[in-house]
């Protein structure tokens, strides 16, 4: 696989990841998503304390050519945001699963996380999407 997909993370159909962390989840863009977007130049973060809703826009990520919403993978309250991205949004391209995380959310309903894709399922999902593109 051309794209890095990490074991233990959960993935959405819009290519966000959620890293479960006792009762919370760290959210970011998958390696596939950052590659498709291209050079990221701007990030708009949610406010700490804001309530986000699964499937609704929680942040905005802009590359040179495109504006993309980052959808919350689960419902919950934002507890932390990665403010370093405001000055260095390109970190998402360089290290999407590490330094490029976007925000942390308190998970209300664990079953929402469980319904997301695991590594093998997400890998298949990417392959299908790539085929459809061609």
């Amino acid at each position: 696989m051309k794209y890095n997909v990490i074991e233990g993370l959960k993935y959405t159909r819009q290519h966000e990841y959620a890293r479960p962390e006792d009762g919370a989840a760290v959210v970011g863009l998958s390696d596939y998503a950052q590659d498709k977007l291209g050079e990221i130049v701007f990030v708009e973060l949610p406010d700490v304390g804001a309530e986000v809703e699964a499937g609704k826009s929680a942040a905005v990520i802009e590359s040179v050519k495109a504006v993309a919403d980052l959808y919350a993978p689960v419902d919950g309250k934002v507890t932390e945001v990665n403010e370093a991205l405001l000055d260095q949004p390109e970190v998402i391209n360089q290290d999407p699963y590490g330094e490029g995380w976007v925000f942390k959310v308190e998970v209300k309903d664990e079953s929402q996380l469980e319904k997301l894709m695991d590594k093998p399922t997400y890998e298949e999902f990417i392959i299908k999407e790539e085929e459809e593109e061609e």
Partner: protein, 366 residues
Amino acid sequence: MGNVKKTPFYEKHVALNGKIIDYNGWLLPVQFPQGLVEEVHDTRKRATIFDVSHMGEVSVEGKDAEAYLQKILVNDVSKLKDNAIIYSPVCYPDGGVVDDILIYRINSENFFLVVNAANTDKDYEWFQENLFGDVRLQNLSPEYAQIALQGPNSKSILQELTDIDLDGMKFYRFQADVSVAGVNSIVSRTGYTGEDGFEVYCKNEGAQALWDAVWEAGEKKELRPAGLGSRDVLRLEASLPLYGHELSREITPLQAGLNRFVALDKPVPFNGQEALQKQKQEGISRKLFGLEMLERSVPREGYPVMAGDEEIGWISSGSYSPTLEKFIAMAFMDPEVAKQEEEVQVLIRKRLYRAKITKMPFYRRD
């Protein structure tokens, strides 16, 4: 993908892993694996090759060719010499723009026009509607391929492939019927990037050989492919207008700040003359300005420009500029307000971001 066209270089783009998109009915690469930002740097510092075969070509021949062009163009072709090129908007009688084009003068009875891909059919119809006297029009677009070789290394790459003296060719000059790697071509010192460079036109049959030769000659000179994405950013940095953004059916060349290409006092009447003269006298309510964001945010086409609570215009093109490492935009604004204000705001997703009005071009090569 139904009715889309491939240029003769389509397979080259695929082999180079270009990301292909449908651009006005043409399958063209929007970017290559090095990415848009790198493509911009490659063009400014070394050399890039663009497939611009989607551009349209129209030949205008006959005894009345010059008089005919004087009527349809707002610029003055009477001063144009053989082997020279001028840029001109083509206007409707009301001053709205049909297209903006290049005019290559082969001789006084033979001109070669280069038009925007998306406008080729519309232009050709308009050219035909305006015909008079001894003029023969021919839409050569389906027969011609075109590459743009842009960047400081362009000249030395191309010089390896041709006997004509490229050093002696000034900007906006050309030679027709020249051999480039054995392929009969038109070579002009032109481009849409704000960088030194050349555009080479040839018939489709010679296209593969031309590309391969340029590619091989470029290998030692760090030539890389570039796509539509970087082309758009490069032209924005150089503040070159793009039809559909800075010019349109509704936007006149005077509003777009192209006054030096509008020969208002041309001795012969031309399409749009009265309307443009009137606009000049009465003043214009919307004019093109440059903006530089003072807060990080990406100004994009269509975003409103504000002065406090008042909406004073809109962004026509905007992007991150890799060369300047700034966020820049062209915007149509009320010139009265722009004169008074140094700073304005761009409305992006319900938030205002500060921007300053700046001189264009944003980027000019040394």
